[in-house]
Assembly symmetry: C2
Homo-oligomer: 711 residues x 2
């Protein structure tokens, strides 16, 4: 079939190699209004622009200058992986440079798909003034210049050539941002050693010692983030400067690491997988097969005791034999993303089967309702099957991001929509909670409950949003995902276009361009218009979300309510420009219960609506704590749009009561027949106002809970 | 009233000072048969004798020789507080030296109080062969000589003079043990620096640096354990050798630490409270008031930010203002033991009120059913109110011990029985689970659940019993408590004798001696016989346990079922030798529920009988996991004595079922109306066999749970 004028390859992560076995190819997409545009505006105008000043204040850039010999002083930071904060910021900035200017308006003549008014979600967020409470850790002060430009309009941008831009993305990188990127790329290049090695911690603190502490040194982990940044920089700007740095480091690693008999001096792996998936991307970007081979070598050496055999380091059991995810969640998920990459590029069926098996085991037994992953604070560990605590849910923001990365690769590899179901859930909940509405404050851990009387430990694992972290892995990770979000939305195959995530904007396959207008997730109507199409018939595939129990598709005069196969509703026909498809997903709020083996939430329900998990916050329920509240699960839920609240949200209102517990003395356990009377009978009626989980902790500090007891 | 011949002061910890405001005084007691004698036999014949070889293998004794300059080599161990393992072992050994030979028989003519046969609880434990799985950490091998003498009889002991021995305790210290104690005391004395300072880590690893890292250095913590060992050694043996070492160190500390203006160079506290309660004991032992003053100074300096203000170090808020226990559990509890000591010795009413308030807050909101304390692995922290997880219950064995120490001081200070209620619960459950039946293997953490499919991390925080720990604080702490257990059993005041804990043995106040025969906790009958008594009337007070809903006391021709005041049934009369009092506590097994704010156990019940918390172990329920099991709370519980099992236990048998859960696909959450059917309806009936929690993990590795879902 002929390509349309606009059908250009996507700019983002995961550009498949020529021998890929993926069922689907990433398709270009753009977001121009609506829910995600508001979040991306915070990212583009607040989070990313503040990055360099924060990295300067925390010492990351100083370390690069020290390593280059252009500054004097002490290494700053507590970890051997502080360079990755810079690399992740560079990757985010690179994807941002490839963006259309945000705030773009829906073109004239486009119909708002629903009579209801869109909440104010497309505005720069407000109502979340940044308190001065949290200092940047490590005596790092946020410089004045890093203040958030609340509600600032996108600056006028200088257009710049960008061959890879999607059709609806006017190439208009921010000149200031481009200059900052150039400056920091120079810093990185300057810090590199002549043979390609680059890690400021080992160069400055460890006297140049290399690869002696693979378990904790993070040297290859750092290389991985450098490579990813370099690939993004190259794809987004066409510049080879950072890519040259990354290749030189990768070549160095390739000369050092290899199996016994390979002639390379070290048979080893990094305690933190990351370089593997990056090497696959480097292969994709350069066509150099040896990067793929190196990634294969690394992935297969985990689980054989090279690092002492700990689950923490993914070294207890090989992936090919593992029966469930385990150990440090982010380590496990980056490794699995690499496994999916390898299965995609090499056709390794055993690795694919292992990845499918582990994904199923993870979702079935170790995933929180929010998509959050990691049950233990200690060692940031997955925990045991069905061990899914609320107040101690770790659910690191980085784990949510890694999960999205892995699932996207699985979606492309297999073509099954379930992977994008999990991506949607994670994006709207476990991931998005990691950044404040104003883009200035962060959560490293994402609990599902903060108790009345909570004593917060502060620091990185605080349940209160924080300006920056001592271990600042999460903020630039959020930035790079938000800046590249359009690359997780759609795919294509020889038969057509698959829409994985619903946004307001455009999706462009090799064959066609489809425009989308929607107020999703506040409203369930998604209006799709075919803008470009070949003459031949092709299939438009719509993901029907796993949570959705009721939907309808209108396509011209026809209405469909199925069939849904592997999560897809497939519309095959000959399309003409202007053809409309309207998908209506029922957003009836619902009460959700868990598998009974999830002990932590027995006797509880959670409120959900569409892809959003809801929670109660103490601030909305004055007059007592949340831990005394019981929901009446027999009463209907009501929906209330609140444009004034939290940047504009739809709340869910439920009936509940507040228990009156008798004073039971000093011992809180008693024979069953002496237990307190049914709280519904003697409790005080309370109207419960649930807000989307992603928006919690944007007002005053207080209690929060997702799961609500029914009695 | 005249003293009887036998009424001598108790030998153990907490000997009140002359100005004490305590309501009660510790009374002497002895244990000669029954449940606790079996546990103490393991302690006396296995745990304590193995100590020196384990301390040698782990390097603790080597470090002392290094510090003394009598050996060469490197410091061994990972922590600045490894000396305390030696001190706690010395304290345990000292209390052991003050013991009557165990295995003493009930004298002729004594009646077994109950027609039932006593389970084999008084035998050396068996059925718990130590597997070779766990290596002593840190490359420490248990020497052959440390093998447990399973079922070995108490060796013949050389009698030695012991002025403080209780009347029923024939002075018969073990000559071998005495020699070991002497040898190790010499090692400690040899390591002390001329000015009294003693800490091998700082002397050997830190080049003699002192008091520069009070937050983590543990120097005063180590001094505290040295002082406690020295007081025990002095009380038990009359020797002043170790006491001289301790005083010299205490005097050094007193010359260095003090408030601004005191002329002492450092205004500071230790990151780990411990020295405070030890200094009160040193005051009690020596009469030197300045040790009491120093303890007062330290206690009052916590909570003022001297250590940076962290809750972890008890530095966030002063005790006098605190509203709940917080931070590192053992730190908090040792500090509170000291507060109780100070309130006792100085009459500080504000400190007493604070201790009472915090005890109530702790028991009401932060105590596990087992008496275990500490909800977080991370930072060994108390967690938030009602945050009481099962699988991640930390419940450090040392925290249970510290809780007993604090509660005993509160019991003496206030005279209220509730404190001994908590002691009983903790002794039989959260504490005793910390040591294996054979006395050779330990638990540092004491979870209330081990899930099916548990991946154990190994190491100190393993849910599997371990031969020794890298941080070996718990094993010698267990040893010292078991070796001094008789000192937590009874008290006296001017009106008579109070029996706090029921054992087979004797209780001796200043006035009287009472003999006790019982198979408690397997049987609920305690037969008390007055052996010595003055002619004047006095009051025998019996604690009626908080868990007990039905009891009866027969006293001659009379029967009492109350009144119970402050937890006590008080029998005031003129007694004659041979008078019998028979207390019958109903041991009907019961199902217990928790306060509804304890989210972790909503919809669950626990099985209890008398003071014992029960659990299910996977090994008793073949054919499936424990996490699918549901208990039928409507069916009666049955009791089955099992002399063959776990050294002889009474099991509780319940009716339950095993769920058949439909395959719900990859997502374990669903709308309430789609949740799996009631498991009772479609489950397979299963007979549930519950064993006492203290005896868990003495067979094969597997799952365990205390709280059982009812639906």
């Amino acid at each position: 079939m002929p390509r349309t004028r606009s059908a250009l390859p996507a700019t983002g992560p995961v550009r498949l190699g020529p021998d890929s076995r993926a069922a689907l190819r990433p398709a270009a997409a753009g977001i121009d209004t609506g829910f995600w545009q508001a979040r991306r505006a915070s990212n583009a105008h607040v989070s990313i622009p503040q990055g360099p000043a924060l990295l300067e204040a925390a010492g990351n850039l100083h370390n690069l200058r020290l390593a280059a010999g252009t500054a004097a002083g002490e290494f700053q930071g507590a970890y051997p992986f502080v360079d990755t904060d810079v690399y992740k910021w560079l990757e985010a900035a690179a994807w941002q440079l490839a963006q259309a200017p945000d705030g773009a308006q829906v073109p004239d003549g486009a119909q708002v798909p629903d009579g209801a008014q869109a909440p104010d979600g497309a505005q720069a967020p407000h109502g979340a003034q940044a308190p001065d409470r949290d200092q940047v850790p490590g005596d790092v002060q946020a410089p004045d210049g890093a203040q958030a430009p609340h509600g600032a309009q996108a600056p006028v941008r200088d257009p710049a050539p960008n061959q890879d831009a999607a059709p609806n993305q006017a190439p208009a990188p921010d000149a200031d941002l481009a200059a900052e990127v150039g400056r920091i790329v120079d810093l990185v290049a300057g810090a590199q050693q002549p043979d390609g090695y680059l890690n400021t911690w080992f160069q400055l603190v460890k006297g140049g010692e290399r690869y002696k502490d693979l378990r904790w040194g993070h040297e290859l982990y750092c290389a991985g983030h450098l490579i990813q940044a370099a690939v993004a920089h190259h794809r987004a700007t066409g510049s080879g400067e950072l890519l040259d740095v990354a290749r030189k480091f990768a070549d160095h690693i390739d000369s050092v690491f290899g199996p016994p008999g390979s002639g390379r001096p070290i048979d080893g792996i990094d305690g933190h997988p990351e370089v593997e998936t990056a090497l696959v991307e480097l292969y994709r970007e350069t066509g150099e097969r040896r990067y793929l081979d190196l990634a294969t070598y690394f992935v297969d050496r985990y689980g054989h005791g090279l690092l002492g055999g700990e689950a923490y380091c993914q070294d207890r059991v090989p992936l090919r034999e593992a029966t469930n995810v385990e150990g440090h969640a982010v380590r496990q998920l980056y490794l699995l993303a690499a496994a999916a990459d390898l299965a995609t590029e090499t056709g390794d069926a055993e690795l694919r089967t292992a990845a499918e098996r582990l994904w199923h085991a993870m979702t079935t037994t170790k995933t929180h309702l929010t998509g959050g992953l990691g049950a233990h604070h200690e060692e940031e560990d997955f925990g045991d099957p069905y061990e899914l605590p609320n107040e101690r849910a770790y659910c690191e923001t980085c784990a949510a991001i890694a999960s999205i990365q892995w699932s996207w690769r699985m979606a492309l590899l297999t073509g099954e929509a379930r992977y994008s179901d999990l991506i949607e859930r994670t994006l709207f909940n476990g991931f998005l909670a990691g950044v404040s509405l104003d883009g200035e404050r962060w959560l490293y851990v994402n609990p599902l409950q903060v108790r009345d009387g909570h004593t917060d430990p502060g620091g990185d694992q605080s349940a209160r949003r924080t300006r920056w972290f001592r271990c600042a892995c999460c903020p630039p990770n959020v930035m790079r995902l938000l800046a590249s979000l359009e690359h997780y939305l759609a795919s294509s195959d020889d038969n057509g276009l698959q829409i994985h995530q619903y946004v307001s904007g455009r999706y462009a396959s090799d064959l066609a361009v489809v425009r989308s207008e929607t107020d999703y997730p506040w409203h369930g109507t998604i209006a799709l218009t075919v803008e470009e199409t070949p003459a031949e018939p092709w299939t438009l595939s719509l993901r029907i979300p796993q949570w959705c129990r009721d939907f309808r598709v209108r396509c011209g005069q026809e209405t469909y309510e199925g069939p849904v196969t592997d999560g897809w509703l497939r519309l095959e026909r000959t399309w003409s420009p202007g053809d409309q498809v309207v998908l209506e997903l029922s957003l009836e709020p619902r009460l959700t219960a868990a598998d009974p083996r999830v002990d932590a939430v027995r006797g509880c329900v959670a409120i959900e609506r569409g892809p959003l998990v809801y929670c109660l916050e103490g601030v909305d329920h004055p007059g007592g704590g949340l831990d005394d509240i019981v929901i009446d699960a027999t009463r209907p839920l009501a929906v209330k749009h609140r444009p004034d609240l939290l940047g504009g949200v739809t709340t869910v209102v439920a009936a509940g009561s507040r228990r009156h517990l008798p004073d039971a003395g000093w011992w809180p356990y008693a024979p069953v027949d002496e237990s307190p009377a049914s709280p519904q009978q003697d409790g005080e009626a309370v109207e419960l106002t649930a807000v989307p989980y992603y928006a919690w902790a944007n007002r005053e500090d207080g209690s929060m809970r997702v799961w609500l007891p029914t009695s």
